[in-house]
């Protein structure tokens, strides 16, 4: 049995009320209680709960109040719709609904497909697109019971002073394990961030940060309310490759998203390759322009891209899968992703 810690629970119907509750608590901070004497823990948003509930059961974070987002009635938080050619996906859309959505499947089949590969059917019915993007970073030394962690000695991510993956490190390199985050980064998607003070759109690439303890560039009290995936130009080729121990349920131990835009003759206009499940932030492989632009994505080009990704990606011992094997798989997945992308459509 893994009981939850004592909490309070509220399920507001209006976004404004949720934002105010979160703002008062301040995500991750403590605030004085009503009488000013007692100290309260932080206020956290919960959507599908498929990440947060296990993490709370493992005592990975402090919480005093959970604000359930799933009763919020504002329509922009739910479903997929088209606005000026771009697709908007509400943060509360379930992974199952996103995976099955006709518009998303038609415009961005790779994204719908990536959502379909997450967890299990039950987890996809519960889990949301917003919770998936905001998924906490994961590490084999961290996603364990409190008893397990205390036995080894706590780490930097919570209570401890050292990192078990990179001894002596001052930062946490727990891995981004969200399939959505990797592909949304590659697709150049943006997230709408709403707080009591305002409303802004930021690229997913800058929402996600490289520090495992603070992997989201959100201010206290801010929520992601929807995603915007820019229209795919004609000649778009995309694919997502996920390496995991079992073909169902498991988180990625490595993943590669590839998005290529081709000119009518087949020459590559632009190519984005993102490698994830390394550390806190999906890694955008750099320097691809010189290697492929203006040329066809043939086998020789694939080799150049695969070698470049291999040079830049260094999996760490932050999960049980062997880092040397995962590194050796980087070019394999890059090649597979690019081949699959070129075959599609």
């Amino acid at each position: 049995m893994l009981p939850l810690p004592p909490i309070r629970y509220l399920a507001p119907k209006r976004l404004r009320d949720a934002l105010e509750l979160l703002e008062q608590g301040g995500r991750g901070r403590t605030a004085p209680d009503g009488d000013g004497a007692q100290r309260r823990g932080p206020v956290l948003p919960i959507a599908g709960g498929t990440d947060l509930v296990p993490n709370l059961k493992h005592r990975l974070l402090d919480v005093e109040l959970l604000v359930d987002l799933t009763r919020i009635e504002e329509p922009h938080l739910r479903g997929v719709r088209e606005v000026a050619g771009h697709l908007h996906v509400g943060a509360l859309t379930s992974l199952a609904a996103a995976a099955a959505d006709p518009l998303l499947r038609q415009r961005h089949p790779t994204l719908a497909g990536a959502y379909r590969q997450i967890g299990s059917p039950q987890l996809r019915n519960m889990g949301t697109v917003g919770g998936n993007l905001c998924l906490d970073t994961r590490c084999t030394y961290f996603n364990q019971t409190a008893f397990w962690r205390a036995a080894l000695g706590h780490c930097l991510k919570r209570k401890g002073t050292t990192c078990h993956v990179v001894p002596g490190a001052r930062g946490c390199v727990a891995a981004c394990s969200s399939d959505g985050a990797a592909l949304l980064t590659a697709l150049g998607a943006e997230a709408r961030v709403e707080g009591v003070a305002g409303d802004r759109w930021i690229p997913v690439e800058s929402l996600l940060q490289s520090e495992g303890r603070r992997h989201l560039a959100l201010l206290p009290g801010e929520l992601v309310t929807e995603l915007r995936v820019p229209a795919a130009p004609p000649g778009r080729r995309a694919a997502y490759e996920k390496l995991r121990m079992r073909e169902a349920i498991d988180f990625p131990v490595l993943s590669v998203a590839a998005v290529a835009d081709l000119a009518p003759g087949g020459a590559c206009r632009s190519l984005r390759v993102v490698v994830s499940a390394l550390s806190a932030r999906p890694r955008v492989v750099t320097g691809l322009g010189d290697l492929v632009e203006g040329r066809p994505l043939d086998d020789a080009a694939l080799e150049r891209v695969a070698a470049q990704a291999y040079r830049q990606c260094h999996p760490l011992a932050n999960m049980t899968a062997d880092p040397a094997w995962r590194r050796a798989m980087v070019p394999v997945l890059v090649r597979r992703a690019l081949r699959r992308a070129m075959e599609a459509r």
């Binding site: 893994l2 059961k57 359930d68 059917p121």
Partner: protein
């Protein structure tokens, strides 16, 4: 402090006092005495706690009891109707799809969600629908056989001119 939550379980409206940190699984098993749903891992890995929430398969160990206010929950206890087993339960029995039986309630609920939507599933559809349910005994083959068989029966019953509709 305990708070009240009202929902419908297997067709019956209930009101339960729960701690805000109680899961739906704890509420079902401890407060309502519905011990059919099993607690395996208690963290989303095994599917033994699968129930239907408004008709969709979810993991009761990850659902907060308070969050099901006003919703409809179906557990394995709600499958049989008027003393007659659901075709899935019959098929699990006759096909030998249960050994220790610990995974069975969760398997039945995942399969039930599938058949409600698609009563002519391929074997691959069944595999995918059950991919969140672990079984340490059977090797899955007989479970797949049972679900395919039950789906066939449900399909026939629905296609029949009289007495059709929901099994």
């Amino acid at each position: 402090m305990k708070e009240s939550v009202r929902f419908v379980v297997n067709g019956d409206p209930v009101e339960v006092l729960v701690e805000p940190g109680a899961t739906l699984l704890e509420c079902l098993r401890q407060d309502l005495g519905l011990t059919g749903s099993k607690q395996g891992c208690d963290k989303g890995d095994c599917g033994a706690c699968t129930v239907l929430l408004d008709g969709r398969a979810v993991l009761a160990c990850l659902v907060l009891a308070r969050s099901v206010e006003g919703r409809r929950v179906t557990t394995v206890e709600g499958l049989a109707e008027a003393g007659r087993l659901h075709p899935l339960q019959e098929a699990f029995d006759t096909q030998g799809a249960a050994q220790c039986g610990f995974c069975t309630p969760g398997m039945l609920m995942s399969a039930c969600a599938l058949i409600e939507e698609n009563d002519q599933p391929s074997r691959q559809d069944v595999r995918e629908a059950l991919s969140g349910n672990l079984c340490r005994c059977t090797g899955y083959t007989k479970i797949l056989d049972a679900v395919v068989k039950a789906a066939g029966e449900v399909h026939q019953a629905r296609a029949a001119p009289k007495g059709g509709g929901k099994p």
